[in-house]
């Protein structure tokens, strides 16, 4: 088994809601509420879920772009949350991020050379004299021409800009890259290019990816393991095939049934699970299982008891789901109400 590169334990990220005259904290948005998972060296783990479920917040909390409320983030054997600000700045060399919007994630006033030079300068990975060469190398690595280094971001297309973002992340030789919806803003054809580039880079530089996405097709293609989140909690975690072929949690089932089928002939037609209602507010999440308000299988027990992530004997190793009735649903003894 590969080495654990990232260990997240009981991570919580609550954002205070200020109110009243003195700006007191009146409530919290519980964006991430007790999330635990591991990422092994060299693998790609995807985090999926609908918008607002806390997947980006998880990524930002791991990077300490927002200081998490509580929990542990162990990276390469070191507790990131315990590091001083100064030490954390050094450590950031090993964890990089690629953002969703290639138009907002690079400074429009800097040339590509300046952007990359600044990155190299901050972490001082390459001596000054060799930075020019390194920049040219980086540009070639991400599929841009070295001659384009003196251009400004507005001279590039969305896909090219995303490549610049990747080059910037790559410039400091990171171990883990958190890709926060890195391809969601791109055209499908460009998406494929960027994903293939990311896969190529993973092989070349033995990178580990935490891939935050909502496009399940992309996720199935790129990831080794998948984490499904709902309202700030993990509802299912497991290896990609196991989750896609044999989803256990009713929410995962509903989510996967929403993937469009390329060839919708009657015999391929899947059963569509259509959920009722909206995602409840993360300010005041439902008691018990957070999914019970929309779950077709929910019972009174679900309203009270919080289900833990667990594996069943028929499930693959490391495949876990958090449903009280996963076994019964699988066996067909517990049926949907609608």
């Amino acid at each position: 088994m590969a080495k654990e590169l990232l260990k997240v334990k009981d991570l919580k990220q609550y954002f205070p809601i200020k109110g009243g005259m003195l700006g007191r904290t009146v409530n919290h948005v519980k964006a991430v509420d007790g999330v635990s998972f591991n990422v092994y060296e060299g693998e790609t783990v995807s985090v999926v879920g609908e918008s607002g479920c806390g997947k980006s917040t998880t990524g930002r909390a791991i990077l300490r772009l927002d200081e998490p409320t509580s929990g542990e983030v162990e990276f390469d054997g070191e507790d990131l949350l315990a590091l001083s600000k100064k030490k954390m700045r050094k450590k950031r060399k090993d964890l990089q991020v690629i953002f969703q919007d290639p138009y907002a994630s690079i400074n429009p006033r800097q040339t590509v050379r300046q952007i990359l030079e600044e990155a190299l300068d901050i972490q001082n990975v390459v001596p000054k004299a060799e930075r020019g060469k390194k920049i040219a190398e980086l540009m070639e690595t991400v599929g841009l021409g070295a001659h384009q280094a003196d251009r400004f971001p507005h001279e590039f297309s969305g896909g090219q800009r995303q490549r610049i973002g990747i080059a910037r992340a790559l410039s400091v030789d990171p171990k883990l890259i958190i890709a926060d919806e890195a391809v969601s803003a791109l055209d499908v054809s460009i998406q494929a290019q960027v994903i293939n580039l990311m896969k190529k880079l993973q092989r070349e530089f033995s990178l580990t990816y935490l891939f935050i996405a909502h496009d399940l097709g992309v996720v199935r293609h790129i990831s080794d393991r998948v984490i499904v989140m709902y309202l700030g909690k993990i509802v299912e975690i497991g290896d990609t095939n196991s989750i896609f072929d044999n989803p256990q949690h009713p929410y995962t089932k509903a989510l996967l049934s929403a993937i469009p089928v390329p060839d919708p002939e009657p015999e391929h037609k899947k059963e569509r699970v259509i959920l009722q209602g909206d995602v409840p507010s993360p300010i005041d999440p439902p008691t018990g299982c957070r999914f019970h308000t929309r779950c077709p299988f929910a019972t009174d027990k679900c309203k009270v008891d919080v289900p833990e992530l667990r594996s069943e004997d028929y499930m693959k190793e490391e495949h876990m789901a958090a449903c009280h009735y996963q076994k019964e649903i699988e066996a067909g003894t517990h049926t949907a109400k609608y």
Partner: protein, 298 residues
């Protein structure tokens, strides 16, 4: 097989620097705005007068001639003389540099402190933000001139203290504007990206946030110069600013008000001078704001 196709289009090797493009566009918009052009020309003219003028005045600003006092404008004394027989034209020219000196330096003080406080407030947020902004609110709660008056009475009246007083009273405006812009800029993803690379706060603030909040600062500074000049003149008028015999316009206006009926020009001419300078800065500031506003086309 590949064929070289010449499309005839000229592909530029490098595109111009976006900052340069922005400046060129700003210039184009600015010269289309008539009031901004008039304001700008007047400001340049005033600065020239302030620097060169004093060398060419027909009289010394402080030479008294009690025989020829309160004289009406003539070919010898263009703006007449005051109650001590001093040539008003010479005093106005000499006063120009004092007026601009007070205007520029008080705004410089206000801008520097205000921008630093505003950026810190907006960037760090939380308790620091609350403390700074409540302090600014306290400053804002006083009417500007009253605050400046209080500061001058504590420090004592002199031109330098006048600058400090007017400077302090323009701090909160800058702090508020910069805080707002900083809040907007720090939410941008590329600031996060730079942070994720391990940049320290100083680098983020000075290299990435400050360049993005400059346009509102420049506009506010131009408009603040006008307010500062007016406040400074007001303080001098009530004797809390520049001390005699300094040819400060506010003080001159104050001296002249005793002779309002016999020699109205003694009070009116410094008054007009103040109006023209303040107007020039206001016109230019308004034009600059319109030119920098991305929502205003043409």
């Amino acid at each position: 097989m590949r064929e070289e196709v010449n499309t005839g289009a000229v592909i530029p090797k490098t595109a111009p620097n976006p900052t340069l493009v922005k400046l060129t566009n700003l210039w184009k918009k600015l010269i289309k705005n008539k009031s901004a052009v008039i304001g700008g020309i007047l400001i340049i003219l005033f600065i020239l007068i302030a620097f060169i003028g004093p060398h060419f005045t027909p009289f010394s600003p402080n030479t008294q001639n009690t025989v020829n006092k309160l004289a009406t404008p003539s070919s010898e004394h263009w703006f007449g003389t005051d109650h001590l027989g001093r040539d008003i034209f010479s005093r106005i020219i000499h006063g120009m540099s004092i007026t601009l000196y007070v205007g520029f330096f008080s705004v410089l003080i206000g801008t520097t402190i205000g921008v630093v406080l505003g950026i810190i407030s907006g960037y760090y947020g939380g308790k620091i933000d609350t403390v700074i902004m409540r302090l600014m609110d306290i400053l804002l709660a006083f009417p500007g001139i009253l605050l400046a008056l209080a500061i001058v009475s504590v420090l004592g009246s002199s031109t330098e203290n006048l600058i400090i007083a007017v400077g302090i009273f323009s701090i909160p405006v800058f702090a508020r504007i910069v805080r707002g812009s900083t809040l907007a800029v720090r939410k941008l993803e590329y600031i996060d990206a730079i942070r994720a690379l391990g940049a320290n706060d100083a680098r983020i603030i000075f290299l990435h946030i400050l360049p993005n909040v400059t346009s509102p600062i420049i506009v506010q500074a131009t408009l603040s110069i006008a307010t500062s000049i007016l406040t400074a003149s007001g303080l001098s008028f009530i004797g809390m600013g520049a001390q005699p015999p300094t040819p400060e316009w506010g003080a001159m206006l104050s001296d002249g008000r005793n002779y309002m009926w016999d020699a109205p020009h003694v009070a009116t001419i410094p008054g007009i001078a103040i109006v023209v300078v303040v107007l020039a800065f206001n016109l230019f500031g308004d034009g600059l704001r319109d030119a920098l506003d991305p929502k205003m086309k043409n």
